[in-house]
């Protein structure tokens, strides 16, 4: 089996290594980086815009171009997250948690290098998985029905509640607001409209990207204006040596990288997607860290973990698309439409009937990511230098960027106002010390989790034991509950140990 995989892959490289395809690859990556940098435009929109251009191309060239836009967008999404606290892509939200503080401390170069390298590592892990385990993995993805999906979402939520450093009630309140907002729009399971109050603009619901651009990007500008009117990234040294210095420190974090890559691959092949993966990667890194409280203040693991996971998930999301015809992400959905227009039918037979195409694509994943890494690393000093521009100039351009981003998601002016509103909400949240991440997480996964739960309940006729009906769903659910109750459990353990020592305990400290 492995022998044939390597043969096929080598054949794929032969297909790919023509001047035309290499050129398309570079063009795709550069376009993708731009798409990723512009918040709101995003991978799916970028790919969709260029789709008509590819109709006259041969399928291999077309998929190389479009998938390289995707890789480029995956790389580029980290840039604005780190520099301005604006997630360029939904899966970059978790990167802002530590990436932005790093940039503020003058370590933007280090953060960018870490993000890009981690992205590359994640993608590589996913491509290796696709190369050698495609048929096996495709079968595994089929085991995911509604209860399994719900368990995965539940796990993501629980890992957040169980380990935030803010007060638990604040995390819960923030998350519940997110659930509320996620419920606006069409209710897939009930078939009716909810909380649209007759406004056409609310039919879309609250788009995750519009919300996070306001919540994270705009609110940060408001806060900075109030506090000191300056970024602290001015003294950043601008040379390529930062890349080597950062690389030298990376092997220390091998455990974080591997953990995130596994989480990412796993969520990518189940359509949990890159967004859930990035949050879970961050959560896992924090959970296993010796010093979890320092997360959020500029830890390099806080950048490495979500980026590795997001890129691993984003890449492995193409596997269910090719092998099963189900897209694991928004961009994969657009590529899927493209495949059909080029005359290729995604599904179990694609690997057999269009081996040239499939292995050409897989080969382009290797080369595209290597080329992408080199390209983005070369731009690190350039992007880090942006922070030397005086704050008023930066702030006004960031606000314009936020507005363009919010508009680009659906081409709706209403979304710009929504973004401004979310900016104010974000500002108030930060002032009151409420965490924003749980809101963002609940907004993006809330309705999917709700759908999965209600689908499960229809199928099981209201029986909750279905969440332990097989080993797969049972272990995910149990792990989720364990994470949720961890703080309580560890509290009890501590107290038991204390009373066991015979030390008199004072009033319960909550």
């Amino acid at each position: 089996m492995d022998g044939t995989a390597i043969d096929s892959l080598l054949h794929g490289f032969v297909v790919l290594l023509t001047f035309k395809n290499m050129l398309l690859m570079m063009v795709g990556i550069i376009l993708g980086i731009f798409v990723g940098v512009l918040p709101g435009l995003g991978g799916p929109n970028g790919v969709a815009l260029l789709l008509p251009l590819t109709f006259t191309m041969d399928p291999t060239g077309a998929i190389v171009l479009l998938s390289c836009i995707y890789w480029g967008a995956l790389f580029g999404g980290a840039i604005t997250s780190i520099l301005f606290n604006i997630p360029g892509e939904a899966w970059s939200v978790a990167t802002t948690f530590d990436g932005y503080p790093m940039a503020q401390q003058g370590r933007a170069g280090e953060a960018l290098t870490a993000a890009f390298t981690a992205s590359f590592f994640g993608a590589l892990a996913a491509v290796l998985l696709i190369t050698f385990l495609a048929p096996l993995v495709a079968r595994f993805a089929l085991r995911f029905g509604p209860p399994e999906f719900f368990a995965v979402y539940f796990l993501t939520f629980c890992s957040f509640v169980g380990m935030g450093k803010e007060a638990r009630h604040k995390i819960l309140i923030s998350m519940l607001i997110g659930f509320l907002l996620a419920a606006v729009g069409m209710d897939t399971v009930g078939g009716s409209l909810r909380m649209t109050f007759g406004f056409s603009d609310l039919l879309r619901g609250f788009d995750f990207l519009v919300a996070v651009i306001g919540l994270f990007g705009l609110s940060e500008i408001l806060l900075t204006m109030e506090e000191k009117l300056a970024f602290e990234g001015k003294q950043a040294k601008l040379d390529l040596k930062v890349v080597w210095r950062t690389w030298k420190s990376l092997p220390r974090y091998w455990a974080t990288l591997i953990r995130s890559a596994i989480a990412g691959c796993w969520l990518g092949i189940t359509p949990g997607g890159a967004i859930a993966a990035s949050f879970m990667g961050y959560g896992l890194a924090k959970r296993f860290s010796r010093d979890p409280d320092s997360f959020g203040t500029g830890r390099i693991e806080g950048v490495l973990a979500p980026e590795t996971a997001a890129h691993a998930a984003g890449t492995s999301a193409l596997l269910p698309m090719l092998a099963l015809g189900i897209p694991g992400s928004g961009t994969a959905a657009v590529l899927l439409g493209g495949l059909m227009i080029w005359g290729l039918q995604p599904g179990p037979l694609l690997f057999v009937e269009h081996a040239d195409f499939v292995w050409g694509l897989i080969a382009s994943m290797y080369l595209g990511n290597i080329a992408g890494l080199i390209l983005v690393l070369a731009t690190v000093p350039l992007f880090a230098a942006i922070l030397r521009v005086p704050f008023p100039t930066i702030a006004s351009s960031v606000i314009v960027l936020c507005a363009i981003g919010a508009y680009a998601v659906h081409g709706a002016v209403f979304d710009i106002w929504l973004m401004v509103l979310f900016g104010v909400v974000g500002y108030v949240f930060k002032k009151l010390n409420y965490p924003l991440a749980p809101l963002a997480l609940a907004l993006v996964l809330g309705d999917r989790a709700e759908d999965a739960f209600r689908q499960t309940m229809i199928a099981s006729r209201g029986n909750l034991t279905v969440f332990w009906s097989n080993s797969l769903v049972g272990s995910i659910t149990s792990l989720a509950l364990l994470l949720l109750l961890w703080p309580v459990l560890s509290d009890i353990m501590k107290r038991l140990r204390k009373s066991g020592d015979g030390v008199p305990t004072g009033a319960a400290s909550g």
């Binding site: 897939t188 009716s192 409209l193 005359g343």
Partner: protein, 332 residues
């Protein structure tokens, strides 16, 4: 003689070009509204049309595709309603034109738009998992009937109170069975959930299940139409689309089709309708379009606004009746 002939030809040419001069055509890029998500069937149809128009240079202005899939496409419908009088917007619509308003009280009716033409009819097929022992519709329904009261079979589909759900309710009342209907976000999801045995059957459109059918993971039991599909080329190792029996042949007397048609916003003039109708006829005459139709097992439909209107006037009351019987209508 010769001169007269030339003069006659010239006259004829003038005559032929006169209406062309007076005819309307777009003066700026045309927004092609897709009331569905990226990569779905409507999106593919719009992009195929866009690609053909571009390739054969059928229109001076380009098409720009605008995905407005919010609230199962209600977003796109409302955007068209609000664009009344703007002939630079067209939409590729389907039965959700009336199923969404009926189910949700959305203030929309197809009469808010100007019908241009049908592009095709989409079929529905009853599929079950190939590993189930039921080889025919009759066997499947008999088995479903047996468990109706205790643990009903699971039927997957796209959305709730929409085409798939309505058809499921139709089968339930005709065959006297009960299913547990599980709504998914897309037909693709319904297809993989069937292969993963999380559901027992679905009523997907041909294009939504073709990949799984070709891999022998699902079985096509019957097609909900009066006659079989015309496509005789083998799709799986042993079967073509034409080999699937109609549901009526197998004893389940239901025919149910979904329109895929083109509309412009309300208040469109006859010239504007004529322009888009002619454009779509030219698109439909290309080899690419025929190929697209066969690949997705779409059924040909008559062109022109009159045929579309006639279909709508028959299909809307049918849906109202079916949805009333299934209790899918929203409370007023």
């Amino acid at each position: 003689m010769n001169a007269r002939f030339v003069a006659a030809l010239f006259g004829a040419a003038c005559f032929a070009s006169l209406p062309a001069l007076a005819a309307w055509e777009p003066t700026k890029p045309v927004e092609f509204v897709v009331p569905a998500g990226a990569g779905g069937a409507s999106d593919q149809m719009a992009r195929t049309i866009q690609g053909i128009v571009q390739k054969y240079n059928l229109m001076k202005q380009p098409f720009i595709i605008a995905l407005k899939g919010g609230a199962s496409g209600a977003e796109g419908l409302m955007a068209m309603k609000q664009a009344a009088g703007d002939p630079h917007k067209i939409i590729v619509a389907q039965s959700s034109l009336y199923t969404i308003p009926f189910a949700t009280n959305l203030p929309f009716s197809w009469k808010d738009l100007t019908p241009v033409t049908l592009m095709a009819m989409d079929e529905f097929v009853l599929w079950d998992n190939a590993e189930l022992p039921y080889r025919t519709t009759a066997e499947f329904l008999a088995a479903a009937k047996k468990v109706s009261a205790t643990e009903p079979m699971k039927m997957g589909g796209t959305g709730s109170k929409r085409e798939d759900h309505i058809l499921t309710a139709f089968i339930e009342s005709k065959a006297g069975v009960k299913f547990a209907y599980i709504p998914y976000k897309s037909g693709g999801e319904a297809a993989t959930q069937l292969v993963g045995k999380h559901t027992d059957a679905n009523v997907n459109n041909p294009s939504e299940n073709i990949a799984q059918w070709r891999a022998n993971q699902v079985r096509a039991l019957c097609v909900f139409d009066k006659e079989r599909l015309p496509y005789k080329a083998k799709v799986t190792e042993t079967q073509s689309w034409a080999d699937i029996p109609t549901c009526k042949e197998t004893g389940l007397d239901i025919d149910y089709l979904m329109l895929r048609g083109i509309f412009i916003p309300g208040g469109g003039t006859a010239e504007q309708v004529e322009f888009y109708d002619q454009l779509m006829r030219k698109v439909a005459a290309t080899a690419e379009w025929k190929d697209y139709m066969e690949k997705n097992a779409l059924k040909e439909a008559p062109f022109g606004p009159a045929a579309l209107k006639a279909f709508l006037e028959k299909d809307e009351p049918l849906h109202k009746q079916l949805m009333t019987e299934a209790k899918f209508l929203a409370a007023p």
